[in-house]
Subunit: 209 residues, 2 copies
C-alpha cells in the first residue's frame, strides 16, 4: 500500500459509519456494548482519494477491505493492458486472494471513486477471535457466503455471453454503469470498448455513446 | 439427491480413507483421539457410481462434498444444453452455492467417475462446532482458502483465452484431460467441442483427436 495515500478518515467523513458497520454486523449477530467498543477501538476506517492503489501485483498483504463508501476495482496488468475483474461497492467485502493463499498478489486493487474503507488485518482478526470467539463464527459464515457468491459469479461468467453480462448489470447494478468508466466496464464483461459500444447500440439504439 | 443411488460406502472401498481424511485435516490442526472418534462416528463416506446426479437444479440442499476418490462435475442446463463449470477431484471440496445462499440450487452436481465422497450437512457441522469449537476455526480457514481459490479461478477465466485455459490445464491438470469427456472439457474452457479440437490440433498437430 502506498504509505503517502493512507490516512485515518477524518471524524466528519466517517460520522455515522461506525453505526452503519454495527448495523451490517447485526444482520448476523447482536453486538454487546463491549464488542462494539472493541470494534470501534480498532479504528478501522481509512479514507482514500479516487485513483489510490491499495495493493499492487508483486506485493504481499494481510489486509481485507470492507467498503463503507465508494468503489474498489481489482485488475491485472496483462501485456501492458489493465484487465478489470471486479468492482466492490458499499457493504461489500474484498479479501484479496494473496491474503489466504500467501505469497505475492497477482492483482491490483484501486479506488474508482473517493472511498472510505474499513481495513482490517490478520493481527486484528487473531486478537478479536481470541477475545470474542463468536467473531470467528461470524467470519466463517461471511466467508461461506462470499464463497457462494464468488462461485456463482464464476459460473455466471462462464455460462453467459458479453451481451447477457451487460444486460445483467443493467438490471441488477445500474449504479455501476454510472460510476465506472466504460473501458473498465468493457474489460469487466470480457470485451473491447468497441464491442461494448456495439452492444449498447444494439440494446438502446437511440442512446448516444 | 436420488435416494436409490445413495448408500454408505462399503468397508473395503473406504479402507484407509478415514486415515486419509485425518491426514488432510492434520495439515491444519492436530486431531485428538476424541476428535478423530467423533469424525469417524459421523460416518461421512458415501459411494456413488459414475453418472449419479447428487444435486439437481431446483432442489435445495444443505450438503457439502469432499472428494476422497473420483471426480464431481458442476453444470447448468441452458437452452437444453449442459454447460460444465467445474470439476472437483481428490482432496477438493465442493460447497454448492445454494447451501450458504439458501433457496433452490441453480446448478447440477454429478459424478464423472465412480466416486467416494465425504458428505457432510449443516446439522453435523453445528453439532461438531458446538462440541469442538476449534472445528469452526478450521472451517473458517478452509472457507477463506476456497474463496481465494474461487476468486483466482474467476479472474484467470476472465483474463485468458480458451487456448490459454487449455494450455493451463495441460500443464497443471493433465489428469483431467484423461478423466473427463472432451465435450465437457470444451464447455469448461468456454468453447464448442469443434473449437477445442482445433485448439488441440494447433498445439500438437501430430496427435489424433
Amino acid at each position: 500500500m502506498d504509505g503517502t495515500a493512507i490516512h485515518t478518515a477524518t471524524r466528519s467523513a466517517t460520522d455515522g459509519m461506525q453505526e452503519e458497520l454495527f448495523a451490517y454486523i447485526s444482520r448476523y449477530m447482536t453486538l454487546t456494548e463491549e464488542e462494539k467498543a472493541a470494534i470501534e477501538a480498532l479504528n478501522l476506517f481509512r479514507e482514500f482519494p479516487k485513483g489510490t492503489v491499495l495493493l499492487k501485483a508483486g506485493e504481499t498483504s494481510d489486509e481485507g477491505y470492507f467498503v463503507m463508501k465508494g468503489c474498489l476495482r481489482t485488475y491485472y496488468m496483462i501485456g501492458g493492458e489493465e484487465k478489470t475483474t471486479a468492482f466492490v461497492t458499499e457493504s461489500e467485502t474484498l479479501a484479496p486472494p494473496c491474503v489466504a493463499a500467501g505469497g505475492p498478489s497477482e492483482l491490483f486493487v484501486a479506488c474508482v471513486e473517493d472511498s472510505i474503507i474499513a481495513v482490517s488485518d490478520q493481527r486484528m482478526e487473531r486478537e478479536m477471535f481470541e477475545r470474542f470467539p463468536r467473531f470467528e463464527s461470524l467470519c466463517r459464515i461471511l466467508s461461506e457466503q462470499l464463497l457462494a457468491k464468488s462461485q456463482a459469479s464464476l459460473d455466471a461468467f462462464k455460462t453467459s455471453t458479453p451481451e447477457q453480462r451487460y444486460l445483467h448489470l443493467l438490471e441488477h447494478r445500474p449504479d455501476l454503469l454510472q460510476r465506472v468508466p466504460l473501458h473498465q466496464l468493457a474489460s469487466f464483461i470480457g470485451v473491447t470498448p468497441e464491442s461494448l459500444s456495439r452492444i449498447r447500440k444494439r440494446i438502446s439504439p437511440g442512446v448516444r455513446h
